[in-house]
């Protein structure tokens, strides 16, 4: 292919060559090139196939607004899809290929779809693929949809997040942004960021870098504006993805979260194309983009150009091409009267000027070859008969005016107005509290026009056919004038509805070059001005961003933080650590050659026959003290706390004011006005917050102090018939005799010079001692108990064994056997509550008719007819009429009862004892008998063994 590199100044390093590969072919470019400029320099025109109809597409722009030239870059884990060729910096060895085509971009089998274009209108999948069901077509459609294919390999790179505060954040380092940043940096802390890295050239950049209060962020694109001046921006630290382990090389990208007192948006404007027949061929480009390729990269995208415009700015492209020796065949201006000075200069350069003409069609199967122009009336509503001419050219530079980049301004809550002068949306003059637009972003397009822009949203087609389905609005999603008009005909008047129905502006470019044309054409089809149609909502991110950059460091082990037990012992001794209510706790301890279920069975048997040792350190521990502490807890818990004497424990059930159970635990009275509340493990934080909220917001005069102590103490639980025997070996100065220290009592003592607390509370149904020691003593005490208990068969047990033990006993677990609709009446607490005189949170709600209904789900035990079938948690009970009759909440096969048992919430369950329920497991029906929840040792005799 031919080299299209021009002579003259450019921002590339011509002394060095870089070799790269595109679709398997080797090419060369220079440092400073983008992939797009290097492809154009090598005469590569076709780089992509369009999204829906697989039409050949070329490079359309020179920036982040690119709708067409999306390619896949890199290999293996570094392969990245939908990269805009206009943004990808060229580097040695770069490998890129086209997307959405098979077998090649030059011959794409799916291009046959173009023959069926009229069967693929807006919303075609809702209309065409209805019979017999969408599911029949879904597989094929999913394969057809989308562009690049993901590599399916975890991203080997890592990403950083950086927070920053400043007085002024200036976004965009064009002339307006540079001036604003320099002025502000004299007196304030300023951040100036830009997607590029020039900052006005090397001299100015050097000068800016010397300003002490100015931070420059090159290759950084602002993504979103959030409340109170928070702007997110993505910095591309390393744009070269090389297949080397990054390891110590630092992050690939950095997500900045910048909080600024004032945000100045100097984000410029994006050129808008014109809409005419066959306006999507490779070789048709934005006029400003051609200018950029010529002046910045010294590349001519073609050998013979035609300029097509409705405004003055495109004339600069004609002059730039002409000055560098590229032939300009004609300037076609829709206006009858272009600016006089520009017209004279054009003709003076020997360029034909066709004023009052329009480009009405183009030809060229794989790339542009000729364009048809025709004379039009002043309003461009019709074409004059006999005026058609064909011009040979391989480059058509199009300009339909400029759209200010108001995305962040609109995200900040700024209002837009339609400015007839530029036929685009600009910020309203009063601006927004903390964000203001300046320069082109405010609608001040330079240089000032000699003649006004002529807004034309669609060029009439030549001939009898209207060609609406060949007049592209959104190149990225293949949306045409026909699609927009069809949407209007079918009643989609709102711009938001039209967008979703036609998918205009919904591609990766978010319609940066197509949104205003689309909404203006919707307006035309519905008899409204663009101002009345309005824009769609601008939402972050402004530009596509890698998920990895958003995640930052929160990946792998850091994706979810778990609370850790103070004891290190478990993981080192076969403990299978799992998430239990946000804590990493041992599920069981595996001995060699054992399966998990064998381990659980062994641990359960040890607890009932000898003694088990359990790490319960995650148990919530909240100290509540003060002269009103008893009254405070009495209001928070269903149970009577006033009668709780020092040294005693009481089970506590906590409700919200809707009467719903939110936590349970054990309350210990340590002395007058001094309580330790043991909450559930999962509720340790929330119960503390709940207490503080009531104390601070409702009962402000109460004299109560609350201290969160969960992490200060390790809690080890000895449970089993030999628990007392083993504990006695510690030789604590406490009488452990059952009469002196009965069930539901607590003792404070000392062990080896540090505090130790004992509680006789049991979640296993066996004789149990919960032992609190300072967290750093946990490991030592654990090992000591294992050593002392060895002759008595002591065995560490995990959460799975504990779950079997508590289900055998029918002890409920809040959040497992209860949900957001469970009241204490539903779990058999009605009688206990009636004995309490005082009010408590949620009590009034228990009297609501809905809470009193006999048809509520109530907690019961289930004995399945199939004794060995462990009922899956969540299994539904089915009523006679096929209605849902309840569901299983906890379940196990009890080694001691040698049968399956379950807890379930069943409709009117408490009145249906002894009756059968029908259970549905994967369509199979099973039967179970409703009974008491206390399956094992119903009288609780083992507690005092």
């Amino acid at each position: 292919m031919t080299q299209r590199r021009l002579n003259g100044e450019a921002l590339i390093d011509r002394t060095r060559l870089l070799t790269f590969t595109f679709n398997g072919r080797r090419y060369q470019g220079h440092p400073g090139d983008t992939l797009a400029s290097a492809l154009l320099a090598n005469g590569v025109k076709r780089v992509a196939r369009s999204f829906k109809l697989h039409r050949p597409r070329g490079i359309f722009s020179a920036g982040l607004e690119e709708p067409s030239a999306l390619v896949t870059v890199g290999d293996g884990p570094y392969r990245e899809v939908n990269v805009r060729a206009t943004e990808a910096p060229l580097h040695e060895g770069l490998v890129a290929r086209s997307q959405n085509c098979w077998p090649t971009v030059n011959f794409d089998a799916a291009a046959a779809l173009g023959l069926f274009a009229r069967f693929l209108p807006a919303g075609f999948y809702h209309k065409t693929f209805k019979w017999p069901a969408w599911g029949w077509y879904e597989g094929l459609m999913r394969r057809m949809a989308g562009l690049g294919r993901l590599n399916g390999i975890p991203d080997p790179d890592h990403y950083a997040t950086q927070y920053h505060h400043c007085d002024v954040l200036v976004i965009g380092a064009g002339a307006a942004g540079l001036a604003a940043a320099r002025a502000a940096a004299a007196v304030e802390d300023v951040v100036l960021l830009d997607s590029g890295d020039e900052f006005g050239g090397s001299v100015l950049r050097h000068e800016l870098a010397a300003l002490p209060r100015l931070l420059l962020l090159p290759r950084t694109t602002a993504m979103g504006y959030y409340d109170d001046g928070l702007v997110t921006a993505l910095e591309r630290i390393d744009e070269v993805r090389a297949p080397v382990p990054r390891g110590t090389q630092g992050p690939r990208q950095r997500l900045w979260k910048i909080r600024a007192a004032r945000v100045v948006l100097a984000t410029g404007a994006i050129e808008r194309p014109l809409v005419f027949s066959n306006n999507d061929r490779p070789g048709i480009m934005l006029a400003s983009a051609v200018r950029t390729y010529v002046t910045r990269y010294a590349v001519s995208p073609g050998t013979c150009a035609v300029i097509f415009t409705n405004n003055d700015s495109a004339y600069a492209t004609a002059f730039a091409l002409h000055e560098r020796g590229v032939k300009v065949a004609a300037v076609v201006d829709l206006r009858q009267q272009p600016g006089a000075g520009l017209a004279a200069r054009t003709r003076g350069a020997g360029i034909a000027l066709h004023a009052g003409y329009a480009v009405v069609d183009t030809r060229g199967r794989s790339a542009l070859k000729t364009v048809a122009i025709a004379r039009c009336d002043p309003g461009v509503t019709r074409l004059l008969a006999g005026s058609l001419q064909w011009l040979r050219c391989d480059l058509l530079c199009v300009s339909g005016g400029w759209d200010p980049v108001v995305h962040l301004y609109a995200q900040a809550g700024g209002k837009l107005r339609f400015d007839a002068r530029i036929a685009g949306f600009v910020p309203q003059r009063q601006g927004h509290r903390k964000a203001e637009c300046i320069g082109a972003a405010a609608g001040h397009i330079d240089p000032p026009s000699q003649a006004p822009l002529l807004p034309v949203w669609r060029i009439p087609a030549w001939g009898r056919r209207d060609r609406r389905s060949l007049q592209w609005i959104d190149l990225a999603h293949d949306v045409t004038v026909a699609d927009i008009e069809l949407a209007a005909t079918e009643g989609f008047r709102s711009v938001e509805h039209m967008k979703r129905y036609t998918t205009a502006g919904m591609a990766v470019d978010q319609g940066k070059t197509s949104n205003v044309n689309a909404l203006a054409l919707l307006g035309r089809a519905t008899g409204r001005e663009p101002a009345q149609v309005g824009t769609t909502t601008f939402r972050p991110p402004f530009h596509p961003v890698a998920i990895g950059a958003l995640a930052g460091g929160r990946v792998d082990q850091r994706a979810q933080r778990f609370r850790r037990l103070p004891l290190q012992w478990h993981a080192e001794h076969g403990g299978v650590m799992e998430d239990h209510g946000g804590w990493l706790r041992p599920a069981c301890y595996l001995e060699s050659g054992e399966t998990e279920s064998q381990a659980i069975d062994r641990e359960v048997r040890a607890a009932r026959s000898a003694v088990a040792l359990l790490d319960s350190s995650s148990l919530g521990k909240i100290e509540v003290c003060g002269e009103d502490a008893a009254q405070f807890l009495n209001r928070l818990y269903v149970n009577n706390v006033r009668t709780l004497e020092p040294g005693r424990l009481r089970y506590g059930l906590m409700l919200n004011d809707n009467g719903i159970i939110i936590d349970d635990g054990v309350l210990a009275c340590l002395g007058e006005g001094r309580y330790m509340v043991n909450t559930s493990s999962a509720g340790a934080l929330n119960t503390h917050f709940w207490m503080e909220e009531w104390l601070q917001c409702e009962w402000r005069s109460m004299r109560v102090w609350i201290a969160q102590q969960t992490a200060q103490w390790a809690t080890l639980t000895l449970s089993g018939p030999k628990a007392r025997t083993v504990l006695a070996l510690l030789q604590l100065p406490v009488n452990l005799d059952g009469r002196e220290f009965p069930h539901m009592h607590t003792r404070e003592t000392e062990f080896e010079g540090t505090a130790l607390r004992l509680r006789r509370a049991s979640f296993t149904g066996e004789l149990s001692f919960e032992i609190d020691v300072p967290a750093d003593r946990g490991d030592a005490l654990w090992c000591r108990l294992l050593e002392l208990g060895a002759p008595h068969g002591i065995m560490p047990i995990g959460m799975e064994a504990l779950d079997v033990l508590r289900v055998e006993k029918g002890f409920l677990e809040v959040g497992t056997d209860t949900d957001g609709d469970t009241s204490p009446l539903d779990v058999g607490w009605g009688v206990a509550i009636s004995k309490k005189a005082e009010d408590f949170i949620g009590r009034r709600s228990l009297r609501r008719p809905a809470m009193q209904s006999a048809a509520r789900l109530q907690l019961v035990g289930l004995l399945p007819a199939e004794r060995n079938l462990r009922l899956p948690v969540g299994t539904h009970a089915i009523g006679a009429a096929g209605d849902i009759d309840g569901h299983v909440t906890s379940s196990c096969v009890s080694p001691h009862l040698e049968r399956s048992v379950a807890l379930a919430r069943v409709r009117s369950g408490s009145t249906r004892m002894g009756q059968n329920v029908s259970l549905d497991i994967d369509g199979g029906r099973y039967s179970a008998v409703i009974g008491s929840t206390a399956f094992y040792d119903p009288k609780g005799e083992r507690l005092d063994a």
């Binding site: 959030y226 409340d227 601070q696 917001c697 009010d839 009590r843 009034r844």
Partner: protein, 94 residues
């Protein structure tokens, strides 16, 4: 969004927990109030489009619950104070 905590200064809203509408009066004696009164206390909230009086807790800061006057449309926080501290009169009332 930012909230000016009277103890800690202006902080990001991420540090705070939303507590719903402020100054919802809990019936002094819940047991003697009607189902309608109790329902109004439990469920009826104003949900305005504009200025709103809410309560927020500086959970990951000082842990204090605050009275916050916030505009639900613009997220502008006009004032934040400790619960029970009256709002200065010069501020427009929410």
């Amino acid at each position: 969004m930012q909230i000016p905590c009277p103890y800690c200064g202006t902080r990001d809203a991420l540090e705070f927990t939303w507590g719903g509408q402020a100054a919802v009066v809990r019936p002094a004696d819940p047991q003697s109030c009607s189902d309608e009164e109790w329902c109004r206390y439990l469920f009826i909230r104003s949900n305005p489009r504009g200025p709103h009086h809410e309560r927020w807790c500086h959970t990951y800061g000082c842990g204090q619950w605050l009275d916050v006057w916030r505009d639900t449309l613009t997220h502008v926080v006009e004032h934040a104070a400790l619960i029970g501290v009256p709002r200065p009169r010069s501020e427009p009332s929410a």
